[in-house]
């Protein structure tokens, strides 16, 4: 097996039954594995709700480590729509030329840095730093702030060996509290201040609501982007011809971004709470239990994708759900796509080849399934073009 490969552990069960099962802290989950059923469930927010007890739709469940409702993630329509209308324009800023130019500069600089190094541990020395620096753009705050986030390490929400760590999460929650206080005292043109000044349905957002948006912005955009970057480096290490191709045919870059994100599916699944007795894949599902929308499985559905386990860089029709589907589709997707796009362009321009020296896989234990989502660490040597 190639080191960069992410196998599909769901294939057999997806084809046989269409759903899988896992326990999570005594709150079991029925995992929806096929693309068509997943889309139907994602669309049906009345039966499969997001606005349940805060933390419950996350797997592993976070009900024991937080009370703050994440917004717009844990809100259902119609309120969800009002919150999205407020934040959508802000999260589209990555399309602006000035944003792109600064992000390109950041990525150029960090690729130059790692090219000059002897060996590089990609997760902590490349992906985490790139992700943190880029997030300062999304929040519109000074670049230096990224140093604080980098110093937290990769495990802000999880510690080695344990799925969830309340103390670690508190570092982030306390930090955000402090930053909200600062923005109240001295408003600026950053995301905190925008949210504090904003109204939804004629009412100002409460401090708790602002916190809910900010926690989500940090949490949603961290591991996902880090895995995308790290997995891309591993892929190019084993496919230097793809770097050559992207250099020769830059017009396929946007398709390559979608294809890598489909293949990596950096967010494996997300839960919903069932509001009434129902049925999926001819399987009865009880009220007040959970289902999950397993994006990673749906993205390998052979009924939809030809050669689902291959990375076809210029895949033309690619109806993947790596960024979710329907109401809750990823708010950070514009930022994530822009990072990945510029990363591919920059690597193709500057890097000739990459050697993998050492690695340790990050494997999620999901009941009957084990899914590799990326790497805990990946040590490589970058070679200049």
């Amino acid at each position: 097996m190639e080191k960069s490969e992410l196998p599909d552990p769901f294939k057999e069960v997806r084809e046989l039954k269409g759903y899988g099962e896992m326990d999570d802290q005594n709150d079991p989950v029925t995992m929806i594995l096929g693309l068509k059923n997943l889309r139907k469930c994602a669309h049906n927010w009345k039966t499969f709700q997001s606005g349940a007890e805060p933390g419950r739709i996350v797997i592993p469940s976070e009900v024991n480590i937080r009370d703050t409702r994440q917004i717009p993630f844990e809100v259902d329509p119609p309120e969800h729509k009002d919150f999205r209308a407020l934040v959508d324009p802000w999260f589209k800023r990555p399309l602006e030329e000035a944003y792109k130019a600064t992000l390109t500069q950041q990525i150029n600089d960090i690729v130059d840095e790692v090219l000059a190094q002897d060996t590089v541990e990609v997760v902590s020395e490349f992906a985490l730093r790139l992700q943190s620096r880029a997030l300062t753009l999304l929040l519109n705050i000074p670049y230096e702030e990224s140093e604080t986030w980098i110093s937290w390490g990769t495990h802000v929400f999880r510690s080695e060996g344990e799925a969830l760590d309340g103390d670690k999460a508190n570092i982030l929650y306390d930090y955000i509290d402090e930053k909200i206080t600062e923005a109240i005292e001295k408003p600026g043109d950053d995301l905190y201040s925008m949210l504090l000044a904003a109204q939804v349905n004629g009412k100002k957002l409460t401090r708790e609501e602002v916190k809910g948006v900010m926690i989500l912005t940090f949490a949603g955009g961290r591991d996902t982007v880090i895995n995308t970057i790290t997995n891309s480096v591993a892929y190019f290490a084993e496919h230097p011809e793809s770097l050559d191709r992207l250099l020769a045919e830059p017009e396929i870059t946007t398709k390559a971004v979608e294809e890598l994100i489909r293949y990596f599916s950096p967010l494996t699944q997300m839960g919903r709470v069932v509001t009434e007795d129902t049925e999926v894949c001819e399987h009865a599902i009880k009220e007040d239990t959970r289902i999950s929308l397993c994006w990673a499985s749906a993205n390998r559905d052979e009924k939809v994708f030809e050669n689902p386990n291959d990375i076809v860089l210029d895949r033309k029709v690619n109806p993947h759900v790596a960024f979710g589907f329907s109401h809750h589709n990823c708010l950070g997707a514009t930022h994530a796509r822009q990072i990945t796009n510029i990363l591919l362009t920059t690597l193709a321009k500057k890097v000739k080849s990459i050697d993998i020296i050492d690695y340790n896989e990050n494997i999620e234990e999901l009941g009957e399934f084990k899914r590799k989502v990326g790497f805990n660490n990946l040590t490589v040597k970058f070679h200049k073009r």
Binding site: T254, V257, E258, V304, N318, P319, F323, T334
Partner: protein
């Protein structure tokens, strides 16, 4: 060369000329409001949703099954819905009129 007209959700008419590429790309390059093309045209985002003018359905032909499946679960779709990233610009589309679909 094909002349393609977009009618936006606030009833503005924008007529553009294109020679190659997708209708979505033409719209995005010319900032037609309501056509975002988030996924770059691979049929995964539905931010390029249009309704084809009833008189022009022959020009655009039928949607593929994958495209149909995307549209099926769209709250604003009807039988004239298309994802315009799946419409390749050719002479055949000359004169086409598209209504930009509403979205959340």
């Amino acid at each position: 060369m094909a002349k393609i007209t977009f009618i936006t959700t606030d009833d503005k008419t924008i007529t553009l000329e294109g020679t190659t590429g997708s209708v979505m790309q033409l719209a995005v390059d010319n900032s037609v409001p309501g056509i975002d093309g988030d996924c770059g045209g691979v049929c995964s985002c539905a931010t390029c949703h249009v309704h084809v003018d009833p008189d022009h359905l022959e020009k655009t032909g039928e949607a593929s099954e994958i495209e149909e499946d995307m549209l099926d679960l769209n709250d604003y779709s009807n039988e004239r819905s298309r994802l315009c990233c799946q419409l390749e610009i050719t002479e055949k589309l000359d004169g086409l009129v598209l209504q930009v679909a509403e979205s959340d």
